[in-house]
Symmetry: none
DNA sequence: GGGTATTTGTCCGTATGTATG
DNA sequence: TCATACATACGGACAAATACC
């Protein structure tokens, strides 16, 4: 037991569990704790250190989340193999050509990665078990085609208080991801619609428009978001925008642009705005900006969002909020449709939200991501003014503008040669000619541990030959 | 805590706390904030709105003074009952028109109803809990875009042994229902494809073709299934068929027709067959007929099926089996797509199948449905020869041919007057002129208890004025 | 059921701008 | 011009209550 002698400072600023976590992590990395070693039980260690079990639990949970130890149900906690900066890759299938492609990088700045370590798995499990235990066999049958009312009510209430979206539960249509909902919307808006999309923009939605044989008009994006003046020059009837954190530039649609855009929409009968609020949950500085839907008076904004970033991507839940007149059209157009979301999952989420865990989780995650963001920006600050940061107000990625005589694709290549995957702004351009004079690179930070960020930035700058100032 | 999106104007004349106070008062009066709702804590709101706690304090104090909210020490602020009735605008939860429609019948012969009483809920629960307990956080992230390999392997193995479908797990694409998969397939097959559909046929798929602006050619159906001679006369390139139990006639595609259909498909490069095996699991008499996919040599059959009938409709799981060359096309066409089925559910089903519960359940259900079917046919036998039965070899509905001088729609009406919902064959016709000389009625039996069937048949015959012989 | 970390309302010290005399 | 009072806004200390398993 003597090897578990860990010095804790009860008067220190840093919480006890954090001290404990740091100590154990160091011990594992140093090699003092060998792979496979069983850690002392929560009760034993708590008694030994004269602290609470909960504190140990917190420390262990953090270690589990970061892969240093693993938990075996009803047996104990065991030390795992660790290699610094080694990212946990999902176990891939062998036979499948799709997955046999092994990435030739060990550090990935992809913007879609999220942090699952703090997901309240236990709570989720609890509600999942409750639903399974208490639910009747009626839940096996089909529910409401737009999703069960219980969940739609929770979403409506959340949207109002958190995003300023004003809607009745009846206006919400639940679906299994943007991939499933956007096609419905596209069919609803008719084949004559011409879609204005942000350039650069989100490739998945662009792909969906094109794949549905719809006309697409790219509109340039600047630091205030989509250039509405340019939009007004086109014959587009539907504008697809990401106002709260434009993808990929990170721009936030300015107040005047918002008004201008809404005016554009209400000027003609068949004009609509699709507001994709994909990562609006995470805004770090400044006043919250309400959704377009909330300030729209003319019922022209169709709101779409998802739980992929805020809860988990694998849950496959997203939703549309339709204006009333479009809702009626929807019901006429898709009379045979059933909801594509499993009802058991709907009920788990509804209960989870009802108990307030969703808001809590968002608050927790906002803090975590803010810390990561701060780490990232402070790490990058050493390399100014060659490297400038933008798009850091919200979301889970930032944009670097790099003052080098290289294209962004060349920079991606240079990084990749050192095993670092970053993403070029030009990859998201619809038209090939990118006006931006300086190369821009996207850095997603959601998937990193806070402790890994500084090192990763260093390696990236080394790869580009930029030294700190 | 929820985030309360309130627009504050820092440059305005009116003080911040007054703006805040007004906003919240309005929200309470409108009913946006329900009685008992907990307001965000001062710190949270202050942080979120980037203003001081004191400002919030002032606003809250004002609201407390005027009775809109109450303060509970160290717990929070809560919305109070607003007494003034004059404020009440409109009830927020207007009864949903879709949900408020109450059926004006007490007996329903709908063919989509299934028997949930024998569903092995306990087993399912067990595996669901196991997955929740044992699964790692990796399950929160996206899995394979076609569905996790584990489940696709189980499906492939089931399809081979029970349906004669030959496929590798790689060829399977998991989706959340036919509604989600068919559109993918339609887009994959291109806009120039002309779809031959059964007439009468399944309205949902027909609807999906039309909704995607695809050309549709109805092909008549007789007691041997789709008339392939008629198909050959058309310029259709894709034939959508339900060979194992044609919907709605219940016909089983004959052996010679199967060969003829496969020959039709292989005669030209761009021809395909979509085999919808929606209720193939339940076949009651005669040898099981293998799927078209299994006897196809030229890779022209696209197989689609679902777990809606065999497990539960609310699970939302269906799958496509693509020929290899189409699979490659699929991966090229939809490079950005993710699976729309929640991974936790995928793993539950995979374990459920792996342990053999799925086959067991099918065997059990087959027995149960067979008994119901026997009860139904024996009850109806008393009314022969006025009432003839067909389509009773498989599936969960039969077809009655009634020797009365009435249309089937008139018969539906007569039944409805007595509180019995039955379905007319003509409702499923694509073209309005129904050739069938005698009226035909569909009777689904899945949703009935065995004991209820005789009485229901009696009531139905009474409604039609048919007496037993 | 216990006990610790965290959240929460309450209270207080302070700073700034404005109006008043 | 200066002193005083008030309104508004910011930040922190404290102790009670809650969340968490």
């Amino acid at each position: 037991m003597d090897m578990w002698l860990i010095q804790l400072n009860k008067t220190s600023q840093t919480p006890l569990y954090a001290q404990l976590y740091e100590e154990m992590k160091e011990a594992i990395i140093r090699g003092d704790l060998l792979v496979g070693t069983k850690l002392p039980s929560k009760r034993k260690l708590a008694e030994f250190l004269s602290i609470s079990q909960t504190t140990i639990e917190l420390a262990y949970a953090q270690l589990v989340a970061e892969g240093f130890i693993s938990s075996v149900s009803r047996r104990g906690f065991f030390v795992e193999e660790v290699a610094e900066l080694a990212y946990v890759e999902q176990p891939r299938e062998i036979a499948d050509e799709l997955e046999s492609v092994k990435p030739n990088y060990s550090i990935d700045f992809h913007s879609g990665k999220i942090d699952t370590s703090a997901f309240p798995f236990n709570q989720w499990r609890k509600y999942a078990k409750d639903v399974l235990d208490e639910s009747s066999r009626d839940l096996l049958l089909l529910g409401h085609p737009q999703g069960d009312l219980e969940l739609r009510q929770e979403i409506a209430s959340y949207l109002y208080s958190s995003r300023g979206v004003r809607c009745a539960p009846q206006q919400i249509i639940l679906g299994s991801g943007t991939e499933q909902l956007m096609p419905l919307l596209i069919r609803l808006l008719g084949k004559q619609s011409v879609y204005a999309i942000e350039n650069p923009g989100y490739p998945l939605t662009h792909h969906i428009f094109v794949n549905h044989d719809r006309s697409v008009t790219p509109i340039p994006v600047d630091s205030d978001g989509m250039n509405v003046n340019e939009l007004e020059k086109t014959d587009a009837s539907v504008a697809y925008v990401t106002p709260s954190h434009q993808f990929p530039t990170g721009a936030i649609l300015s107040a005047s642009r918002r008004v201008q855009l809404l005016n554009w929409a209400s000027a003609k009968e068949d004009r609509y705005i699709i507001e994709d609020d994909y990562d609006s949950e995470f805004r770090y500085i400044g006043k919250p900006i309400p959704s377009l839907q909330g300030i729209d008076q003319s019922e022209r904004v169709i709101y779409i969002s998802t739980f992929s970033k805020s809860l988990m991507p694998s849950l496959r839940m997203a939703y549309l909020v339709l204006p009333m007149h479009i809702l009626q059209e929807y019901r006429k157009t898709f009379p045979y449709y059933s909801s594509t979301v499993p009802r058991l999952d709907q009920h788990v989420l509804a209960q989870f939200m009802n108990a307030g865990h969703f808001s809590k989780h968002l608050n927790r995650m906002r803090k975590i991501y803010r810390k990561k963001l701060e780490k990232l920006t402070s790490s990058l600050a050493d390399y100014a003014p060659l490297v400038q940061i933008s798009g850091e107000q919200a979301g889970m990625h930032i944009v670097l503008t790099i003052d080098l005589e290289k294209t962004d694709k060349e920079l991606v290549k240079l990084a990749l040669d050192q095993g670092i995957r970053v993403y070029a702004r030009s990859e998201y351009m619809v038209t090939s000619n990118d006006q931006s004079s300086k190369p821009q690179i996207l850095l997603g930070f959601g998937g990193f541990l806070e402790t890994e960020i500084e090192k990763a930035v260093q390696l990236l700058m080394d790869a580009w030959g930029i030294s700190s100032t």
